[in-house]
Amino acid sequence: MADATAAVCNLAILEALSGDAVQEISESYVGFCAATESLLSGIGDLSAGSEMARHVHRLCKYQLHSLVWEHFLTSLEENFERNGAVKFWQHFEPYRDISISEVDRSHVCDDQIQEVLCKALEEISLENQYQKKCLLVLVDALQTYKDQVLPAKCGAVTKKEFLLSKYQLMISSVLMASLPRHFPEILRWYFKERLEELSATMAGESTDHFDSQENDEMDVDGNNRMPSESSRMDIDGGLHGDFSENKLIKNIGKVVSDLRGIGFISMAEDAYASAIFLLLKAKVNDLAGDDFRSSVLDSIKEWIQAVPLHFLHALLSFLGDSFSYERSSDIKSPLASRPLSCYPGSDNLSEGLVRWQLRLEYFAYETLQDLRIGKLFEIIVDYPESTPAIEDLKRCLEYTGQHSKLVESFISALRYRLLTAGASTNDILHQYVSTIKALRTIDPAGIFLEAVGEPIREYLRGRKDTIKCIVTMLTDGTGGNPNGTGNASDSLLEELNREEENQENGAVEDNFNTDDKQAWIAAACWEPDPVEADPLKGSRSHRKVDILGMIVGIIGSKDQLVNEYRVMLAEKLLNKSDYDIDSEIRTLELLKIHFGESSMQKCEIMLNDLIDSKRTNSNIKATIGQASQTSTVSEDSGNSLDILDATIISSNFWPPIQEEVFNLPGPVDQLLSDYSRRYTEIKTPRKLQWKKNLGIVKLELQFEDREVHFMVAPVHAAIIMQFQEQKSWNSKKLAAVMGLPIDVLNRKINFWIIKGIIAETMDQEGEGHIYTLLEGSGDSTKNGGDGGSCEELLAVDDEGEGSVASVEDQLRKEMTIYEKFIMGMLTNFGSMALDRIHNTLKMFCVADPTYDKSLQQLQSFLSGLVSEERLDFKDGVYYLKK
């Protein structure tokens, strides 16, 4: 084959060759081949070199250089393939299976692998070196010939370089071609183990050795390419390595350089890079964990600086950093240009390091970000406490820019975990608010917030109690609410409060709301579509408005919210026994800021009624003194007027109030009429109309062995008072006395039965029940039987019927006006879709009362009719029920 090639190559000069010359060529070629053979096979013996040189010279005389070195390389390759590569891979043969299953590697195995790897690498590099020497012999031979013939030529160096690189290429291609699949795995694993060892030693010493400048030079000789490196390590002081660490790094450096020697540059880099990344990932996971209460980013960065960068620094300086220097010239990272104070070494090294640092930090950011995004739901659940985690996430996202990942993952988490039938509306709202706050930190532009918030809003719109919950969130948390929802509901009021404070601060700064008018204008300017508002220009207070705005955005209009608030406020005010409405006033003032004064007008009147009532009440009390002398009627009850307080309301401005008629006990009735007479005296042509079922009565029931305190509705008080004169009542008779229907009475009296005050027995004679007042001894067991005065303050009845008609009831009442229209329409048209009914109503009901209901309201009314079985609903159209 070689002969043939030679023959072809030299075809042109073949003619000129004499028989002797041919003879000589073939002889020396055979000699050369033999010499090559002996040179390569004789380990450590270069004696065949001179023999070979002679043949080479002779061959060169006939211009056969290429033939010479090609043959030489081919035989080198064959030799290497036969000896080096096979032997090298054989070392790793036992670990073929182990390396596949990563889990059950033991430390024994680790040591073995390390040993084997080192040994194998050493062997192969020895082999390598020997072969290189052989190659150098050839080069020398070629060189001497050249020197003889053309003494002035200087192309020799390039020839040598060329041959060496050719050789390198050959070696690595041979190895690569026969690369077992598990070898990269072994490498990676090796680096991982070493790095862990290293980080362990570093973690151990970084505490005590942190700023001690140590002078033990890293023993980096044996590689004289970089004589300056060791001194530099002293300068930067970042390497506080002691002996064990140095040795470790040296070992690793040795392995890496050996690997490079056999052409595994990228594989080695891959291996230790992936090892570093693995370690970094583990570290991030370890540091970040499930604790959102502390910021971990800085400690991660510190760790990167301390362990992997330290390691890389040592490694790169050990290796002379040649490869990263080559690459760093073309791609300049913007961050690489910043001055690096901590590594004032040569440019190439620090640039390589910066590159690494950027890579590592990006990776750390990304890992942390992924971790945090995965847990974002939990983070937001405990939002105010998890602020550090949010801050971390924000910084990570700033770096990586993968916001869309956040949105996607968070939305799916929401769908899966929050927006389900099992979650209470309150929780959803709370999470929504937290989400708004948290995401605002991450993304001040509000773009992703919009994307994330939409599913929640969409879902909440489908819930019936959303408005109620929102209002509760808005108004509660003032401390007056004992039923434990305090922490869940105080957030919004808190929000409003804070905003108020901010506005007050703002007022100092820029004379913002010094006068009411301006405040009103500011409130009026505020429109619920704050999502689009530019938060960059908005101050902090603007952002707060945003939160409320986003909540109002769930409902769609503030009117519904205000209406619901009015109902709740009415309920609350009517159940007040003192006139303490400070917190309500505060809430109202805050609401006025947000919703405008006009929409809160009715609520304001309601509060005003309370204030007026307080004044009137004390006025009436004040007249008692004089009145008791003149009036004869109130002679016996005059002093007892003290116990009567009244809330006097302007009923036009309150939500419709549910009235219930029953007879009050005579004395109380007397008191009330007395009170209203006095009222009329004071406020002349005005008079009072008592809402007998409303209000609150404080009772102290005295039994022989105890006193019990109650706060009850008037109707309950009236019932129990009947039992003072007569200890047991037939239900029918009692109902007649009370002026209540029997079933209502039975329901009401349950309150006392539950409290253990009244016992219920069946009447022997017929239908109806006997109610008997239980005297103390009967249920002393209930109170622990300690006799003395046992005070109980019980909450108002929890029968769930409010004193104020709910919004739904109001709506139903208003809608009944249109019922006839709807029925008429359906009779005429047979069947109609919701839209059509809505539009027709809008078209025809223009006169008093104008049809002003929303499609949703109509729908809920119609579904009410369906459930009453008056309409039928099928395939999206309504029919009359036949």
Binding site: N652, L671, K687, G695, E700, Q702, Q724
Partner: protein
């Protein structure tokens, strides 16, 4: 309740007498306070003001708070209006003002 029996033994003998004895004022003793709710209304014959057509129990268009801040006023003809409404009316008339309802000469009652 000073006469309350101190032990159960005595209680059984005198429970009833003490109860009936205290019956008269028991209700007040056992009732600490009664907080009632009432609504006020102007004792006018009509529902709405003839001038602004707003409810008497509400307030005139210029007012925000009903009641004392926006009182009613009766003319000698016994027609009632919001004070602010009728004042506006009276002031707008150049000569003698008349009751908007009955066209009689407007005189404030008393």
């Amino acid at each position: 309740m000073g006469t309350r029996p101190l032990s159960d033994g005595i209680f059984f003998t005198c429970a009833l007498p003490s109860y009936t004895m205290l019956k008269e004022d028991e209700i007040y003793r056992s009732m600490i306070s009664w907080h009632a709710v009432a609504s006020w209304t102007w004792d006018a014959q009509d529902e709405t003001c003839g001038i602004c057509r707003m409810a008497f129990d509400g307030c005139c268009p210029d007012c925000k708070l009903p009641g004392d801040d926006c009182p009613l006023i009766w003319g000698s003809c016994n027609h009632a209006f919001h004070l602010h409404c009728i004042l506006k009316w009276v002031n707008s008339q150049t000569s003698q003002a008349h009751c908007p309802m009955c066209r009689r000469e407007w005189q404030f009652k008393e």
